[in-house]
Amino acid sequence: MRITCPLCGARDLREFSVTGSAALLNRPEEGAELPEWDDYLHNRDNPAGPSDELWYHSGGCGAWLVVRRDTTSHAVLDVRLASEQKT
């Protein structure tokens, strides 16, 4: 598996680490209710197919990336900077 970092180009899987679903970018507001936090921290869509995930280019530029990947084939479909993704 190779991931094309928008800043560094195509790099080996070993340069990256993954934190999980890109839903992690949508942190609940302060004072949100418990179920909302539970959903954010624990519950997952866990899709079999295209999935947006949060990856970190730890062995490269240090950027956080949103990688769209097919979890059934490991094909990398799209890579963006997380800083641009967040609205």
């Binding site: 598996m1 080996d12 899987l13 070993r14 680490s17 993954v18 934190t19 999980g20 679903s21 418990l34 179920p35 539970d38 959903d39 921290l41 624990h42 519950n43 997952r44 869509d45 866990n46 899709p47 079999a48 999935s51 995930e53 990947r69 979890t71 059934t72 084939s73 490991h74």
Partner: protein, 417 residues
Amino acid sequence: MRFNALQILKQGLTGNRGWAPQWRNPEPKPEYDIVLIGGGGHGLSTAYYLAKKHGLTNIAVLEKGYLGGGNVGRNTTIVRANYFLEGNSQFYSHSLGLWENLEQELNYNVMLSQRGQLMLCHSDGQRDAFARRGNAIVNQGDDAELLSPEGVRALVPYLDYEQLRFPIYGGLLQRRAGSARHDAVAWGYARGADRLGVDLIQQCEVTGIDIENGAVRGVQTTRGSIRAKKVAMVAAGRSGQVAAMAGMRLPVESHVLQAFVTEGLKPCIDHVISFGMGHFYISQSDKGGLVFGGDLDFYPSYAQRGNLPMKEHVMEAAMTLMPMIGKARVLRSWGGIMDMTPDGSPIIDRTDTKGLYLNCGWCYGGFKAVPASGDCFAHLIATDQPHEAASRYRLDRFKTGYGLMDEEGTGAQHNLH
């Protein structure tokens, strides 16, 4: 047909032509009392104990592929009861107890081999943690022995004791632990359940769960709709998709775990051994292949295969610990879909939908759990009360934060186990 010495002799003398199929291949009926989704180890053992202990036999196990084609046939078959935390320790203790009587119970050779499992430690801190864990295991009634470096060397002289980087400080040995034949466990439970009247329906994928007014009514499948009073989800790595059919989002992320096997060798590794400083564990199968594995690849996956970096890591750890296996040729590697929970412990619970039950989150340790999981899940489905050995496997522990079972002490967060 019951297996016994006389049968084997008779069949042997008559060309083995008299063996009958081990289970029926029935058409699905329009309605059952209980439908189990998933014919892996846990689904089959649940069906068996529902019939055997609770007398409930109007049951179907629906399997989208073939029986035992999921993780139950892909794992590295380690059976042990050396967990540390309250909740896990009594459950796995219960499971090991059931393992020890399984062959008699099922009249099936599951090839349980209590060859002992040895976990190695490589620092003072790790040794202290092992001493504490060993005491906890002994207190719960199972066996554990803390070995000195000399004790380890006497048991397994072939490890690399000379290296400076990860010196071996000792080990924690559980003699009752070991391995079993994974397929045989699935087949034994399948045969047992079938003989008690359970319908095992293969090539039948569940595509929808019917819910009316907060109660489950049945399922939609690739072989038509089936009504059911109770429906139980036991789909391991596919739990997320199955639960989504009931409108649920689970605290589960599916990851890939790889394993490896070498060509057959003469007996050389007599125990199950795990390295404490890298992700590597190994045992030798009865056919002679060295069966070994390491950690998750650590990205979500349903591919049932992994990538090269983790393979390299596992091989490096193997060479660090036991360079003697360096010349063995690896024949195969594969991967399975692991249903990972945030705290690394499983879930056996009811759901908010009446008559709908959930069994999942087995992470990379659900093979040893097959007997107790079936026993406890059957108890829950039959009586609507949790079995005492599994009462802590609640779905709501993540929401409440109460009763988390994080054996590794790394935090109850996805991607840390």
